[in-house]
Symmetry: C2
Subunit: 428 residues, 2 copies
Amino acid sequence: MTRLSEYLLPTEKQPPADAEAISHKLMVRAGLIRQLGAGMWSWLPAGWRVHERTVAIIREEMDAIGAQEMLMPVLQPAEPWRKTGRIGFDELFKLNDRKGSELVLAMTHEEAVTTHVSQIVRSYRDLPLILYHFQVKERDEPRPRAGVLRTREFIMKDSYSFDRDQAGMEERYELHVGAYDRMMQRTGLRFYRVEGDVGMMGGLGAHEYMAPCVAGEDEVALGDGYAANVGVALRSPDVTKDSETLMRGGEALRIEPAIEIGNIFKLGKRYSEPLGASFLDEQGAEQHVWMACYGIGPARIVAAAVEQYADEHGISWPRALAPFAVHLVALGKRGTPERDAADELYATLCDGGVEVLYDDRDLGPGEKFADAELLGCPLRLTVGRRSLESGEIEVQKRRGREQAPPIALRSEPAALFAAVDELWQSLP
Amino acid sequence: MTRLSEYLLPTEKQPPADAEAISHKLMVRAGLIRQLGAGMWSWLPAGWRVHERTVAIIREEMDAIGAQEMLMPVLQPAEPWRKTGRIGFDELFKLNDRKGSELVLAMTHEEAVTTHVSQIVRSYRDLPLILYHFQVKERDEPRPRAGVLRTREFIMKDSYSFDRDQAGMEERYELHVGAYDRMMQRTGLRFYRVEGDVGMMGGLGAHEYMAPCVAGEDEVALGDGYAANVGVALRSPDVTKDSETLMRGGEALRIEPAIEIGNIFKLGKRYSEPLGASFLDEQGAEQHVWMACYGIGPARIVAAAVEQYADEHGISWPRALAPFAVHLVALGKRGTPERDAADELYATLCDGGVEVLYDDRDLGPGEKFADAELLGCPLRLTVGRRSLESGEIEVQKRRGREQAPPIALRSEPAALFAAVDELWQSLP
């Protein structure tokens, strides 16, 4: 039950002065996010709905591969970070408690999860295991930028797999590739899975999930059946550089900017050795656990969806991520018959479980339509005086601002829900 | 779909050496939580399920009073904390970023939410407003203790109400009293709502929600129609002290230890004034917003439930919080007909949407029953060789370890679900 007259959706005509990225501009203008400080953002109610829809998709696909959800703390003792050598990372926030003990703020959770596993796992029978959580990460980012694209605090889903041997690790890794592919497909994003940089995590192989868009800080090299991070492509023996063009097997590779929205790494024993995560194998010999880690950022998925589908009027959500399915605009003022008709339609839609944002404010049509196009819900229904005359609810699909055939205003609820559902199914 | 052979539930025979509180001992022994450092805890999968059930109850009751969910960051600029004077609090973690800027880790979110409201709210038309989030809090607690009862990091649901005047604030406060009462009732906890200390938050009045139990650090004074924090009672003109006994209107008050699980405060303009949260009233005059804040700790609710209902065999969850409805114990080894019968029952229950933890491990009955009683799911179903002979599933209700009438092993699914549901409805 969401009435705009009571809902915190502070839309703005102007973007923040420092905003360059489309997602930064539009997410602030649409009232989805607000900045508290450099690289520190709050999600306002409508933005949080989109974030949590993304989280729900990720959770379902993680659970489907047998991953177990838990929660590990952000504030952590420094000691395990010393053992893994990551204590010296510039991005790691360090602080002292009132007794002077050194603490850190986790930027990922390898140290924590491996510490637990080292205490819990004893035998090959306790493996394999996939653990995950959605938890705040903190990074002392030198240049926070682009709204929620590069921040100092963000929520990440990070999962960790624990296996008896390399073959097991590969198997768990492949499970994640499948789960990540499905997540990405379900979000409605355009994306590439590319060969990734091993980077600061260390490891034996990696993939990145990249969403192409102009605000992207990364670059992907794309060819026929080939997709790689440009850095990786440049180091590949198959790829040559011909003046400014990358060539592979006689083909010129396209270069596209993209946002990294997920990454998966084969870690091997990178963390299990320094943190002593071992088990007794079937022969009774002590072995270190084989690990891999898998990250995905809901905030970046949200921002990438804004980047990929926005037009000059605002956001245009893929239906899987939309804050509301329907944006219902009442054109009539309180007390008019057309307003009563809109109120009634709103109540019926709510009863039917349709997620509706109801613009019941005392504003003119121009402002209401502008806010609806800015926020970008997939379907807009409008009820005004004309609806009473024609007996029809005006319908607009947000993507392409396409007028759809009207729905009868006095439909039976079942017919109304069927009409809305049919429209919904037709959306991207 | 949860099979104990694959589930991370590291039960222990012995509690941690330093544990005194029942909830600390049992939550670790039952495999629900693990310590990462002093006052820093992880929730393992079964514990996290209980935590999230608590969160779901809280969320439903918040949404029902029109509160709007959002998310604000943990890492924050120091400046607003300087303005409110809370920067000097010993419990506030402070740190510097790589450029030397001072940051803090939020212990509550008055500074953040009021900063946003000061930028967004302009007019009396924008009020009232109730905003909330579930977010990590950090506190530089000098003496972390008792498992998840007193930690340095924990999740709190904190909501904030914003009103035009004191009468509005009182109205929003009463809405919260109703919502909190319903939350507490739904959890199945025994609780008191008592007059509270205004304490470090400053303000015009407060209530605390207290769960009586021996591990409680607080004390409540209880009489006929009277319940107050002991500190508050001692300062009340109605209460006198007669040697060690508190007297009120001729009645001796009982003193009980209790855990504070929620607290609500009338803040007035305590934060809106220093942070400049104001609006134009109907006469066009600038007014400061009237605020109140409302906290509740899911982790403490979980621990209080353990404290209140545990027996010498382990935890006994109220059904609203249980990690699983049914703990299904298969006594037969893999390949036996009794094991096949248990497998089949498990599949049927899962298909029917019953939340089952299936003990399919190759262990003896003693260990399996001990783990089931330790974990404390409300219903235990047992399938062994005897079940095949008698055609009956053995049923135990965890609370009181009471044997319930058996269920026919070869029931039609509909009859099975009806029998389980009837049992479930009979539970506390």
